[in-house]
């Protein structure tokens, strides 16, 4: 095969969201547990009222929307910072679609594999 020649520039991997080959297992799993989540209209109220979101780059709407599109939650230039969620529940109080967003946050933590092993249950 050809050696990896360097011509002084790199081909860019596409930024396209490829829905054809998306692995939406996490999304389907979450939609079962928190069924109201499918009614989200991405209005942004949750991200707006989120105390953690103001000081840390944690945007809850973008996070669970990325999951809906089966995108990688944890990327180096967009770390999800989900662990900075305070679970204070303000987002749940303001959600116009009545989605239990606090529970969604907990479920995302549990279902996104490497978080769950942080501290095993009793």
């Amino acid at each position: 095969m050809a050696g990896k020649k360097n011509f002084g520039f790199e081909r860019h991997a596409g930024r396209q969201i490829d829905l054809d080959h998306a692995d939406n297992s996490l999304a389907t799993e979450l939609a079962e547990v928190v069924s109201a989540w499918s009614a989200c209209i991405s209005c942004g109220s949750c991200a707006a009222t989120c105390p953690a979101g103001q000081n840390v780059g944690f945007n809850f709407r973008r996070l669970h929307y990325k999951i809906k599109l089966s995108l990688e939650v944890e990327t180096d230039n967009y770390p999800s910072l989900l662990t900075s969620c305070l679970l204070c529940g303000k987002c749940q109080l303001v959600c116009p679609r009545g989605i239990p967003t606090r529970y969604l946050s907990i479920q995302i933590m549990q279902k996104t594999k490497h978080y769950a092993e942080v501290i095993p249950p009793v």
Partner: protein, 622 residues
């Protein structure tokens, strides 16, 4: 008398096997429990064993394990049922032992001898024994006591309302098996002893009379021999049903009989449920008698009909290491913890079973400890939820200014959280991180008094925060102080009101009287129902509840709270206010708002009560 000296009959083997099995099992368990205690708890145990605490624990064992004093508080008949079964059986064993020692003269002898003593020694002749208050008499007396309790237990199984329980636990198959075994023990014992007495013309008022009746029923002329063929089989039956009970005991709710005693001792020594002492948590799960007393107070029983989420089912699920999600279905309102006869720390056990994922560990909390470095006497911490009920914040600032107090608003831009929501979700590590940050901020502010509007924060500051030289008050307590010190004056208005006591303020933090005193100062007529505080349904404890269930809980609570037809519902928590708001037919106000209105001479009810009412009508349909 040859039988007396080395009495034996093969049927006793069944009992002995069963009894020794239970003995070994719980010995092993005891070692495991103590082994899996944290160093701190083990130290506590060692230092307290030979102290007065052990005597106090022993006293509590008698009051609780035997007499079940706490259950009497719930319902007299229920208390009597448990007392009769526990205390009655204990006395049967005690007196049986004394009787066997007295007659056999041997203190150390196989345990079965005292249990089956009546078989070996038919006792005094009948009917003389009826009038002599001897052993036979007392054995019959306590047997009767136990049987009476048994009758109540059977009634409870079919009509639990009569014993004050709307619902009772739906037992598992193995529990039902042990239950039937327990229910068979005493009737068979009665028959066995009566048969022996009938065959030998002995027995006291119960066993003798029944024995006599049985023998006369079997043969027209009074001959004692007619009962002979029935004696041995009945004792075999008695021993085998005991075996069945003992074999199933460790795997069923009756494991609480030995476990609760151990729990009482360890608890008296100061050991509490914690992540570091899994042994104590395991002991707690064994101590749950699954009596079902915690089902009725749980508001999820109505909101989630048919779902087995209450504490007894939850404790059982941990004990049997079943993977379920019901640890999330608990509003942490601690209504069950308040009535649990065994006094288990049900709330903490739920929190611990929620996997700790170190949430909240990356967030930084921004507050303002001191305005331009100048220390203020009072630091006001509104709480994150209160920023969604701005009228509370506005009212509190009016009250602070009216009272002329030197105060500083710690979290004006709502970027602070006390950490308790994390703790309720089992995220102790994240909660601690937040606590460290805020604690340092509060102490740095130099304030003497920390006032908060949110009971959830109040409980966290009280229980978990260490704030030397700083007093923590909920704003209801603070307002009452202001009134008592004549710093502000409120006049009573003619409206009737009802007070909803937030779980975290009343049961959670013990702030019971101050809000009620404030009510009397504010409202002429107080129609608060005299019941245990109800949860509003908005609780952070149960994240998994969907909006429909929360509204069902809220409506259930409102039904009770507005039974006295109040004009306005007063509460002391922003989350309760936000939860009741869309569902309540009448306006929902916080104490701060009510006080601020009367201070500034504003209208007593929020102006939008009319529009609020119509708006509520539509939303109630959800």
């Amino acid at each position: 008398m040859q039988k007396l000296f080395h009495p034996f009959d093969p049927f006793v083997l069944l009992f002995t096997i069963g009894f020794s099995f239970v003995g070994i099992f719980f010995l092993y368990k005891l070692i495991r429990w103590i082994e899996r205690l944290s160093d701190k708890d083990t130290e506590l145990l060692n230092n307290s064993i030979f102290t007065v605490k052990t005597w106090q624990a022993l006293k509590e064992v008698i009051w609780e394990s035997l007499l079940h004093r706490k259950i009497f508080g719930i319902n007299k008949r229920l208390g009597y049922m448990h007392m009769s079964l526990a205390f009655g059986w204990f006395m049967l064993i005690l007196i049986g032992n004394v009787e066997s020692i007295y007659y056999s003269g041997r203190f150390f002898k196989p345990i079965y001898i005292s249990v089956f003593w009546r078989f070996f020694d038919p006792g005094p002749s009948f009917p003389q024994a009826v009038y002599q208050p001897g052993f036979a008499f007392w054995m019959d007396f306590f047997l009767l006591l136990v049987l009476s309790g048994l009758a109540l237990a059977i009634i409870k199984r079919f009509r639990s309302v009569w014993l004050g329980l709307k619902q009772t636990t739906r037992q598992r198959p193995v529990d039902r098996l042990a239950l039937t075994a327990l229910w068979l023990i005493f009737p068979i014992r009665l028959l066995a002893e009566s048969a022996t007495c009938g065959a030998n013309g002995t027995g006291s008022f119960l066993t003798g009379t029944l024995g006599h009746l049985m023998s006369s029923a079997l043969s027209p002329e009074p001959s004692f021999l007619s009962l002979e063929p029935f004696v041995l089989p009945l004792w075999w039956a008695y021993s085998s049903v005991l075996l069945l009970f003992f074999v199933t005991l460790p795997f069923t709710r009756y494991a609480h009989i030995p476990s609760e005693a151990v729990l009482i001792f360890l608890r008296k020594y100061g050991i509490r449920v914690s992540r570091e002492s899994p042994g104590y948590t395991d002991l707690s799960t064994y101590s749950c008698s699954s009596c079902g007393v915690c089902i009725d107070p749980c508001q999820l029983s109505d909101a989630l009909p048919g779902r087995q989420v209450q504490s007894n089912y939850f404790v059982k699920s941990i004990r049997h290491h079943e993977h379920t999600d019901i640890q999330w279905d608990c509003m942490q309102c601690s209504r069950c913890e308040k009535v649990c006869p065994v006094g288990l720390e049900l709330m903490t056990m739920r929190q611990l079973s929620r996997t700790d994922m170190a949430m909240g560990s990356k967030s930084t909390i921004i507050g303002h400890p001191g305005r331009n470095g100048q220390a203020h006497r009072i630091l006001y911490f509104a709480g994150c939820m209160t920023h969604l009920t701005p009228s509370i914040i506005r009212s509190m600032s009016q009250i602070f200014d009216q009272a002329g107090s030197s105060w500083q608003f710690y979290d004006p831009d709502g970027l602070a959280c006390c950490g308790r929501p994390l703790k309720l979700a089992g995220q102790s590590e994240g909660a601690n991180r937040i606590k460290e940050q805020l604690q340092a901020d509060f102490l740095a502010s130099g304030a003497e008094l920390l006032v908060t509007s949110c009971p959830i924060c109040y409980r966290m500051f009280n229980e978990d925060y260490i704030l030397p030289g700083m007093k923590v008050l909920h704003h209801t307590q603070y307002i009452l102080e202001l009134i008592e010190w004549k710093r502000i004056r409120v006049d009573q208005n003619k409206l009737t009101a009802a007070y909803h006591e937030p779980c975290e303020l009343g049961r959670g933090s013990g702030v019971i009287s101050e809000p009620r005193e404030l009510m009397s100062k504010l409202y002429q007529k107080d129609t608060t129902p005299d019941i245990e505080g109800l949860c509003c349904g908005g609780s952070l404890g149960a994240p998994g509840l969907d909006l429909v269930t929360r509204r069902a809980v809220a409506r259930g609570a409102l039904g009770e709270l507005t039974s006295g037809k109040p004009d306005v519902l007063i509460t002391a928590c922003p989350l309760c206010k936000k939860t009741f708001g869309p569902v309540s037919e009448i306006p929902v106000m916080d104490f701060a708002e009510a006080v601020a209105r009367s201070l500034t001479g504003g209208s007593v009810l929020p102006e939008t009560s009319k529009s609020l009412k119509t708006r509520h009508k539509q939303q109630v349909a959800v």
